[in-house]
C-alpha cells in the first residue's frame, strides 16, 4: 500500500492532505492520471506541464493550478516524474482504497459495463451484478453470475459493495436507488435517463448519452445556422 509520508518535506499546517480540491480540478485530475498511465506504458520517465497539458487537452496553466491542489510534486526546471506524480494524484483521489462496485441491471448496458476492463485497472472491482428478470438471473457475465435483484440488500452487504452503478430503465431507477442507499451504499453512478433524488451524504453522478447528444446538437445547430450576426 502506498503511503504519503515518503515526501521529504511535510505538508505545512497539519497531518494530511485533507484540503479540498475544486470539483472542476478533480474531474481533470482523472484525465491526467490516464495520460500519465499511458506515458508510463510508453516508458516515459519525465514530463513537463506543457506536454502533459497537451496530452490531456487542457492549458498548461490549468494543469499546474490543478496539480498545486494536490501538492508540489514537480521539479523546477525539469518537470514531473511520471510515476511519482501518478502515485500522488491517485492517492489524492482516494484510489488507494479498494472500491467494490455493484452493477444493478444486466441489460445491454449493464453487461457492457461489467465486461469493461477499465474498472479493474485502477482500484475498482466489480463484485456483483443484478437483474430483476428471472430469465437473466443466474446467467454468467464476465466472471460473475447475475444475482436476483430481489436479493439486492443481502448480496450488497455480503460482497461489501461500496459503490453502485445503475444501468436500468428510468421507471425503476428511483426505487432501486433508494434500496441501494438503504443498504448502505453512499456512492452511485447512474446511467438511467432520469433525475434521481438522494438524501444528503450520498454522492450521485449521472451519465446520460441523450443529454450529451443534445448538447452536441446545440453546438452543431449554431455552427450550421450563422444566425449570430444580426
Amino acid at each position: 500500500m502506498t503511503s504519503l509520508e515518503s515526501s521529504p518535506h511535510a505538508v505545512p499546517g497539519g497531518a494530511g492532505p485533507a484540503k479540498q480540491i475544486p470539483p472542476a480540478a478533480v474531474a481533470r485530475l482523472t484525465i491526467y492520471l490516464r495520460a500519465l498511465t499511458a506515458l508510463l506504458a510508453e516508458g516515459v520517465d519525465r514530463v513537463s506541464s506543457e506536454s502533459l497539458a497537451e496530452a490531456s487537452g487542457v492549458s498548461p496553466s490549468t494543469l499546474r493550478k490543478d496539480l498545486s491542489h494536490v501538492g508540489s510534486y514537480g521539479t523546477r526546471g525539469v518537470g514531473y516524474d511520471v510515476q511519482y506524480l501518478n502515485r500522488h494524484i491517485a492517492a489524492a483521489l482516494g484510489l488507494t482504497h479498494d472500491w467494490k462496485v455493484a452493477i444493478v441491471g444486466a441489460g445491454n448496458l449493464g453487461r457492457a459495463l461489467a465486461r469493461y476492463g477499465g474498472f479493474e485497472s485502477r482500484g475498482f472491482e466489480v463484485v456483483a451484478i443484478f437483474d430483476a428478470d428471472q430469465m437473466v438471473v443466474g446467467s454468467e457475465v464476465g466472471w460473475l453470475r447475475v444475482s436476483d435483484a430481489a436479493n439486492l440488500e443481502p448480496v450488497l452487504q455480503r460482497t461489501g459493495a461500496n459503490m453502485a452503478v445503475l444501468a436500468l430503465p428510468a421507471a425503476v431507477a428511483q426505487d432501486v436507488c433508494d434500496r441501494v442507499i438503504a443498504a448502505g451504499v453512499r456512492s452511485i453512478l447512474s446511467f438511467a435517463p432520469v433525475v434521481l433524488q438522494v438524501p444528503p451524504g450520498v454522492n450521485l453522478r449521472k451519465v446520460d448519452m441523450a443529454t450529451e447528444l443534445q448538447i452536441l446538437a446545440y453546438h452543431a445547430q449554431r455552427a450550421q445556422d450563422p444566425a449570430g450576426t444580426d
Copy 2:
C-alpha cells in the same frame, strides 16, 4: 468588451433567439427538457420554476436564469405552460433538426447504445453501426445490420450521418475519429477512454465511466476520512 449585439427584445414565435447560451446552461436545459417530457406524460399542464427546479435537481434561481437565455416563455404569477416551454427549449437546443447518428464499434457498449431507446424519442436516429471484426460485420443489432468499418466513409455519406458515437478501444479511437471527421462529421461523442485531438470546428464530447467512478471515489474518500489518518 464589444461582443455580439442581439436584439433587445426576443419576440416569441418569431425568429429564434440567436444569442449564445452559456455551456453550463445548455447542459441543464437538456435536463429540464426531460423533466418537462415526464410532466407532459403525467398530464401536468403548468409548472412553477420551483417545482421544475426540484424535479431537475437545481435551484430555482439557476432554472430561471437558464430559461432567461432561451426567452421569456413563462407567465408571472402562474408559471410555465409545460408543452409550450418544452417546445421552445427543444427549438433552442436545435432538436428540430433530424440528427442522424452513426455508432462506430459494435462491441458490448456499441450494441447497448444502438438498442437504447432514448435516441429516437428526441430527434436522434441511429442510421448505421460499424465494426472492424469480420465475425461481427453483417450481424443484426436492433433493426440495423453491422457495417464493415472499412466502408466507414461511403456508408457515412450514403446514410447522411451527421453525428458519430465512438464506442471502441482507446487504441483505435484517434484513427477512427480522424476518418469520421474526414468524412464530414462535425459532432462526435466518444466513449473511448482516451483524450482525442480534433481540429477546430469539430465538436467533441466525452463520456467516461472510469473518470466518473474516480470522481465518486474522491468524494467517498473525503466523506469516510474527514480527518486524515496519517
